[in-house]
């Protein structure tokens, strides 16, 4: 039965939805401006890349400012992405016979006061472009971490500093400990420093931003046609080298032998070949596949469109299964995983998550990343011993990895030495409290030479991070735990803070801790009442912790820290 309200609603809707033909035509015309379809690397290539890691054939151009970034600067030689000669900013703008510079050429913004807010000179900036709405930042920079302060409708200007030019406003943070200096700062491959000016003058500086997949225009948001400026994802290339061998002398804390390298998204591991497994799991028959479909339906709002993409079974046993789907058809390259479990009630959904791939030495180990232990001298070309800290990626309630580490899996090539270590997970539920890292000694069968030292946990392998000379917080200190202090932020947050704003951590002594007068709840209440509004309204997504005498709030999702 159609009541009066329904009739009125239909009438109003058809009037309200009567859009101008010009708007429709404009949308249709925008199809020609869509970027080239991003099919992503083929599964075979992905498999090859991972296999290259396992057999220690992987070599990646990892020097900051080197091959990778050199290759991304101008993906379209004809586009306005060419470097400006230092000292001659905007030279093309003055030539009467040449067209005026267009974004992302910085010269197009030479007189824009927002660019001057970003500091530095024109030669320090490689790309400049505008976002119609700052909130669209992940359409332009799909790999950038969350930046809730940008979640506003105002327009914004983005300046991408050159790879060899770290953001010129300087970084804050504490002075280095007496008698020491901060290590030189460098960017990870494919990362840059960014300046984002929201509105006329709200300045935000972001350090070490992953600009993979960056687009300087997004169809429908700009007046100019988009310039194809996709940044390629780092890929591995083959080199000739023997198959990886285990260290003949295992680390002192090693607990297990047989190497059977596998991949993991953090939970259940699966064979490397699973990346090339046949697709179609979303249509397959069986209770585990029903659980997959139930998970896709359950998490549809968080992972829209993923019921439309092909899924593949990566691993299955009597207790559970893990499925993978490439994210490429509907987003930036990468993987999404679904884990389902079998219990007394049958197969049930467990998790659906973005999958950051890590390599583990075998199925019984969880992933761990490595940093050089700055308590010892940095390795030299003659070094056959590496002093490292092993950072367990799974939650361990702050327990060290002592006695749970695998033998190191070491691959040697002419260009690199790749070390992979796993950590046997602790049983039962564990709190996610950061731990500063478990010291380990890795012995090489040949001197390091001038080769790069790579952490094989990453896919592809990445250089071992060098920690700052600061001490690290020890969240398991009993004296602090007894008075409710000592919770450290996740290792990822600590590492970022150490690397980018030189904020180190140390445990409070008990007398210091007892001087703390502000409660965690009070700090949270005050902090959430402060602008920008986004922090307050997103409070439920925040985790608050005490770090020394400061209170640190961080998003449960990866968050893009900023200066400014």
């Amino acid at each position: 039965m159609t009541d009066d309200l329904e009739r009125r609603l239909r009438t109003w809707m058809h009037a309200d939805g009567d859009v101008p033909p010009a708007a429709v035509s404009q949308l249709a015309a925008s199809v020609s401006a869509l970027p080239a379809r991003d099919r992503g690397p083929s599964p075979a290539l992905a498999l090859a890349a991972v296999l290259a890691l396992i057999v220690a054939l992987g070599v990646v151009a990892l020097r900051p400012g080197g091959g990778l970034l050199g290759g991304v600067a101008s993906p379209d030689p004809g586009a306005a992405l060419g470097p400006q000669p230092p000292g001659t900013p905007g030279s093309t703008a003055t030539a009467s016979a040449t067209p005026p510079p267009k974004p992302p050429d910085p010269a197009a913004f030479r007189d824009d006061p927002r660019l001057s807010l970003c500091g530095g000179t024109m030669s320090a900036v490689e790309f400049v472009f505008e976002m119609r709405h700052a909130a669209d930042y992940r359409r332009y920079l799909p790999a950038m971490l969350l930046a809730p302060e940008l979640d506003v409708a105002q327009p914004a200007l983005v300046a991408v500093y050159r790879a060899d030019t770290l953001q010129p406003l300087g970084v804050g943070g504490a002075a280095p400990p007496a008698g020491t200096t901060w290590p030189p700062r460098s960017l990870a491959p494919g990362h840059r420093d960014l300046c984002v000016v929201v509105g006329a003058e709200e300045l935000n500086i972001y350090s070490d931003v992953d600009i993979t997949g960056m687009r300087t225009t997004v169809p429908g948001t700009e007046t100019e046609p988009p310039a194809p400026s996709s940044i390629p994802t780092p890929t591995a290339t083959k080199a000739s080298a023997p198959i990886a061998t285990l260290s003949s002398v295992p680390a002192p804390t090693a607990t297990s032998g047989a190497a059977d390298p596998r991949l993991t998204c953090g939970g259940r591991s699966f064979p490397v070949t699973a990346l090339d497994a046949p697709t179609g799991a979303e249509h397959a028959v069986g209770p585990e596949y029903d659980a997959l479909r139930a998970t896709l339906a359950r998490d549809e709002s968080e992972f829209p469109l993923f019921s439309e993409v092909p899924w593949q079974l990566a691993s299955r046993d009597a207790d559970g299964a893990i499925f993978l789907a490439r994210r490429d058809p509907i987003g930036p390259p990468g993987w999404v995983s679904v884990e389902v479990v079998a219990d007394a009630n049958g197969w049930q959904p467990l998790t659906m998550q973005e999958c950051e791939l890590f390599m583990v030495p075998s199925a019984q180990f969880g992933p761990a990343t490595l940093v050089l232990d700055d308590a010892f001298p940095a390795p030299t070309p003659d070094s056959t011993e590496l002093r490292i800290l092993v950072l367990e990626r799974r939650c361990s309630s702050g327990s060290p990895a002592t006695g749970r580490m695998s033998d190191p899996l070491i691959g040697y090539t002419a260009e690199s030495v790749t070390v992979t270590i796993g950590v046997r997970p602790l049983a039962g539920d564990q709190d996610c409290i950061g731990f500063p890292g478990t010291p380990a000694l890795v012995r090489l069968t040949e001197p390091l030479g001038d080769r790069s030292l790579l952490d094989g946990a990453h896919v592809p392998p990445a250089p071992l991070a060098t920690p700052s000379p600061t001490a690290r917080i020890s969240p398991s200190a009993p004296a602090l735990a007894s008075i409710g202090l000592g919770h450290a932020p996740p290792t990822t947050v600590q590492t970022w803070l150490e690397r980018n704003i030189r904020m180190g951590f140390r445990p409070l002594s008990e007398p210091e801790a007892r001087m703390v007068r502000v409660s965690l709840d009070e700090a949270k209440r005050v902090a959430l009442s402060l602008p920008p509004e986004g922090y307050g309204t997103s409070g439920a997504r925040f985790v608050w912790t005490k770090v020394g005498c400061a209170f640190l709030g961080y998003y449960k999702e990866p968050l893009m820290p900023r200066l400014g």
């Binding site: 309200l5 009125r8 109003w12 309200d16 199809v31 869509l34 169809p219 429908g220 339906a297 469109l305």
Partner: protein, 181 residues
């Protein structure tokens, strides 16, 4: 009023296959008959012309990137609508409830009452949460089959009618509140 390309029964499979190889002209041929309704629905759902255009642009982009995974090319219209609905829902949820709408153009004499009524209804509709707005738009504007509406919203088909009923009740309450203002 359903999209012309469906009523003319133009075979979609060749166009989808061409689009999947990167043929923008084929893709445009596929989407063009859909755009008027898509944009109209997005305007109703997100309550902003600019955001509606952005949402449809997002849908175009995601459909373009994902067309290679479309398993049944003849289902392209419904598949594309799904992209539109998701993009609009995402935009609508991000905007939350919209307190103010664009003011209608000045009404001509004698049109005032109807203009006020439309504005009152628009305010009431904007006060609904995003999922209610999307549900009512799919049902009353796009007039999609129950099964397709259920698919777009990820709800059982058997609950669509009841959810529409409750959404209408909430609209009725909001409308009454508007009229008391």
């Amino acid at each position: 009023m359903e999209v012309a390309i469906e009523s003319l029964r133009v075979p979609l499979t060749p166009l989808v296959r061409r689009a999947a190889t990167g043929d923008r002209d084929a893709f445009r041929t596929l989407v063009e008959p859909q755009l008027e309704r898509a944009l109209g629905a997005a305007v109703i759902m997100v309550r902003s012309h600019a955001d509606a255009e952005d949402a449809v642009q997002d849908a175009l982009l995601s459909a373009w990137q994902g067309i290679g995974s479309l398993r049944d090319p003849e289902a392209f219209p419904a598949w594309f609508r799904r992209h539109v609905v998701r993009a609009a829902l995402h935009t609508a949820e991000r905007r939350g409830q919209v307190g103010e709408l664009d003011v209608d153009a000045p009404a001509a004499a004698g049109e005032l009452d109807r203009a006020l009524e439309r504005r009152s209804l628009a305010r009431a509709f904007a006060a609904l949460d995003a999922r209610d707005r999307v549900l009512l738009t799919l049902h009353h504007y796009w007039e999609l089959p129950i099964a397709e509406t259920a698919t777009h919203l990820g709800i059982p088909a058997g609950t669509v009618k009841s959810r529409v009923h409750y959404a209408m009740e909430r609209l009725r309450a909001a409308s009454d509140a508007e009229e008391r203002r």
